[in-house]
Subunit: 475 residues, 2 copies
Amino acid sequence: MTPEEFRTQGHRIIDWIADYRARVESLPVMARTEPGDVKKQLASAPPDSPESFDAILADLERIIVPGLSHWQHPSFFGYFPSNGSLASVLGDYVSTGLGVLGLAWQSSPALTELEEVVTDWMRSMVGLSPAWSGVIQDTASTSTLIALICARERTTGYGLVRGGLQAETQPLVVYTSAQSHSSVDKAALLAGFGRDNIRVVPHDGSQAMRPDALASAIDADRRHGAAPCAVVATTGSTSCTAHDPIDAIAAVTQPHRIWLHVDAAMAGSAMILPECRWMWQGIERADTLVINPHKWLGAAFDCSLYYVRDAEHLIRVLSTNPSYLQSAADGRVKNLRDWGIPLGRRFRALKLWFLIREQGVAALQVRLRRDLANATYLGDQVSSTPGWRVLAPVPLQTLCVRHEPPGLEADALDRHTLEWCDRLNRSGATYLTPALLEGRWMVRVSIGAEATERVHVDQLWAAMRAEAERSVSSL
Amino acid sequence: MTPEEFRTQGHRIIDWIADYRARVESLPVMARTEPGDVKKQLASAPPDSPESFDAILADLERIIVPGLSHWQHPSFFGYFPSNGSLASVLGDYVSTGLGVLGLAWQSSPALTELEEVVTDWMRSMVGLSPAWSGVIQDTASTSTLIALICARERTTGYGLVRGGLQAETQPLVVYTSAQSHSSVDKAALLAGFGRDNIRVVPHDGSQAMRPDALASAIDADRRHGAAPCAVVATTGSTSCTAHDPIDAIAAVTQPHRIWLHVDAAMAGSAMILPECRWMWQGIERADTLVINPHKWLGAAFDCSLYYVRDAEHLIRVLSTNPSYLQSAADGRVKNLRDWGIPLGRRFRALKLWFLIREQGVAALQVRLRRDLANATYLGDQVSSTPGWRVLAPVPLQTLCVRHEPPGLEADALDRHTLEWCDRLNRSGATYLTPALLEGRWMVRVSIGAEATERVHVDQLWAAMRAEAERSVSSL
C-alpha cells in the first residue's frame, strides 16, 4: 500500500471509527454470538491474490462488529473500564504510523525521552515523590511479574547470575491476600516460587489485608526457616476496590527488608484526585508500584506504568548487552530494553502524551469525579431500595450489589444472582460482571466508561430492577 | 474528544502519516540528536488546561521527528527490519479505535476467533502442519520466556503448583549457542534457571550449533546429576542469520524428552517461500516455535506468533480462573488469557488480517524474494571488490561484511570497522548495525525494509566504500 493509497483508505478508517464511536450506544453491549459463529464466517485459508479494501471493510462490518463486546459503550459496566479516549487513540495512530522501535535509546531517542517525560508527568499527577522512576509496560500482569522477579533477586543477592532460584536452600515466600488480582498468583508461579510458597494473608471486614496477620505469617515462616521475600498489596482490588493498608504493611515489611509491591492498576488513576490519596497512604514506603492509565484514565490499551525506587536494581536484573545493541551513547542514556521483558518497544508514550495534553489534568479530574459521584448516587439508590444491598464500601467507582428477595437460601440466592445478571447481559442493554465475594455471587457494577453519564446509570438501575424482579417471578 | 472532533483531527493525522511515509527518504536515517536533546524541549510538567491539537502536532513535527531513527526509511539496514506495512497499520488503527479487550472469549468473541484464524493462516503459509496452535504475543523475548517456563514445568512435573523451581533438587539446565539472541539468556535468567545452568553449546564454522557437542553437554550434565530441560535453537540468528540444524538437534533432545524451542523470529517470515524451508528442516519435531511477522513480513509491531504443539500443557502452566473472569461459554471456547502472561489483550489479529488480505500471499512472496535477490547482489559486489569480505554465508537477507585494508592488525581493524560504520550512520545516508562475529567487529547489512529497492542497495554500497576509504586515508 502506497502512502497515497493509505491516505485514501486511512480517511475511510477514520470515518468508520468516528461513526462507530458515535453509534456504539445503539449496539448491544455484550456480543450475542455463540462460540464458533465468527470463525465459521471467515475464510479458512489466506488469499493468494490481493483483496480489495472494500471487501475487508465489509467483513469488518458484517462479521467482526457483531462479534464484539463494546468496551467503549456508555452502558459498559463490566470488569474495569478500558477507556480508549479518542485523543489517546490518535497518539497511538501516530506511533503505529511512524513504525519506530525503542530497543535502545539510539534506535529512536525521542521514544525513550518522551517516555521518561510522560511517566514523570504521571508521577507528579498522582502525587508521588521524585524518588520514583517510571516505564511503560503492557499490563499490570507483566509489571507484577517483573516486581516479583526483582524481589526474588534482591532476596537471593542476584541468584540469577549463579545457580538461579533452583539453587536456593531457603524457600522464598510471597504474601498477598485473597482479594489480590489473579495476576499476582500467576506472577508468583511463573517466577518459580511455587504455590506452596504463596501465603494468602487473611483480610478484614472491608476486604483489606490484615497487617497483624501478615506479621504473624512472616514470623511463622522465619521460624520454619523460610525466607519472606515479597508482599503484594492492592490499592483498589478487582472484586470490590478494597485497599490494603500500605503504611501498616510497610511497617511490617521494612524491618525485614521484604519487597513491597503495590498493585494500583485500577485505583492509581484516582490518585490524580488529592481527595483519594488516603487510600494508598504510605505508598512512598513501597519498592514498586503499578498504575494502569489504560483503565479509567483513558490511555488507549496497552499502557501500564511501572514505577520503581531502585532503578539500578531493576536494570541489573533485566539488562542484556549484546554487541548488536551497543551504541556510542550507552552509559549516558536510558536503554529501555533493560526496563522490561521485551526487547522491542512501541512508541507508547505518545498515546499518554496526547491524552494528557488534549484533555489537561483538570478535565481528567472532572471526569473521574463525575464517575465517583455516579457511584455514590447508584449506591444510594440501591441501599434505599427494599430487597437490594450494597455489599462492600464504595471508595471508588465500583459497587458490589445483590438483590436479596426474602426467603431464598444461599445457593438459591447464588442462582438468582447469576440468572438476572446473565439475562441483563443477554438483553444487550448493559454489561455487568458477576464475581464472588466471601464465597457468594454478587454483581459488580464498575462505573467509569468515558461515555457513561448519569442517564446511563439511571437506565442501568431501572434495567437491574426489572430483570431481578422478572427473575424472582419465574422462581 | 468527541467522535466529530476525532473525525477532523484523525484526517489530519492520516495526512500527516501519509506525508511522513512519502518524505521519510529525505530525512537522515539515524537520529542526529544528543542525549537529553529531546527531553529538554518538552514541558516538564503536565498542562492543567487543554492544549490545542495544533500545538501537539507542531511539537510532533518540531521535537519528535528530529529525534527519531526512521525504521521505515528505504535506507534503513540496521538491526532487523520492522516493517509497518501501511495496510497493517490500518488494521491496527481499527483495533485501537474499537478499544475492545480480549481478557476472555466473552469479552470480545471476534478478537479471539480472528486470532485463531490468522494464526492458522500463518501456520499454513509457512508450511507447518495442523499439529501447531498459535497465539499472538508481543515479542519473541516474551515467547521464549513462556517456552522456557513451559519446559521447566514439564521437567518438574508441574512444580509450580508445589514448591516451585526452588524446591527442585536436581538443577535444570538450558542449552543454546553463542549465536542465539540475547533474549534467550534473559528468559533463562528470569525463569529462574540461573546462569550456572545455561550451557553455551559450541557452533561450527557456519555459526550453527553442533549437535554432537549438544549431545556431549547433555551427557555430561546427566552424569553430574543435573536435569537437561530445554534447548533453544535458532533459525536465522541475529548476528548472521545462521540456522541451527533442527532435525539433528531434535534427534538428540527427543530421546531424553528435552524441550525444543525454535527461535525463528526473523527467518520465520521467509518460510512463506518454499525454497527457504530447508533452513528449519525437522521443525515438526520441536515443541514450541516463535515467528515475528512484525519484522520482515510487514505486520505493524507488535505481532509475535508463538506456536505450540501441546496447547493443554501451555494452558495448564498459564491458566487463571478468578470468578470475575468466568463466563457461561467457558469450556467451549479459547480464553487467550491462558495463552500468555498479560491478562489484557489488544485486537492484534486485525493488523495481520489486513496485511495478508490487502497484499495476498503471492505479493508478500515477491517482496521477500526481491530482498533475497538484493542480498545476493550486494554479496556479489562486496566479494568481488578487493579489500572487502563477506564473512558468513548469506542464506537470507543479512550480510556480515568487513573492509579489510592490508596491513591492519586485529585491534586496528576493529577500530577501522567501527569508525567507518559510525561515520556512515552519522552522515544520515543509511543506518547499519555493527556486531561481533567470532570476537571481532563486523558490519551487518540487514536488507528488507519494505521501501528498499535495488537503487537503495546501490547507494548503500557506494556510501560504504566511500566512508571506508575515507576512514583508511585518515588512519
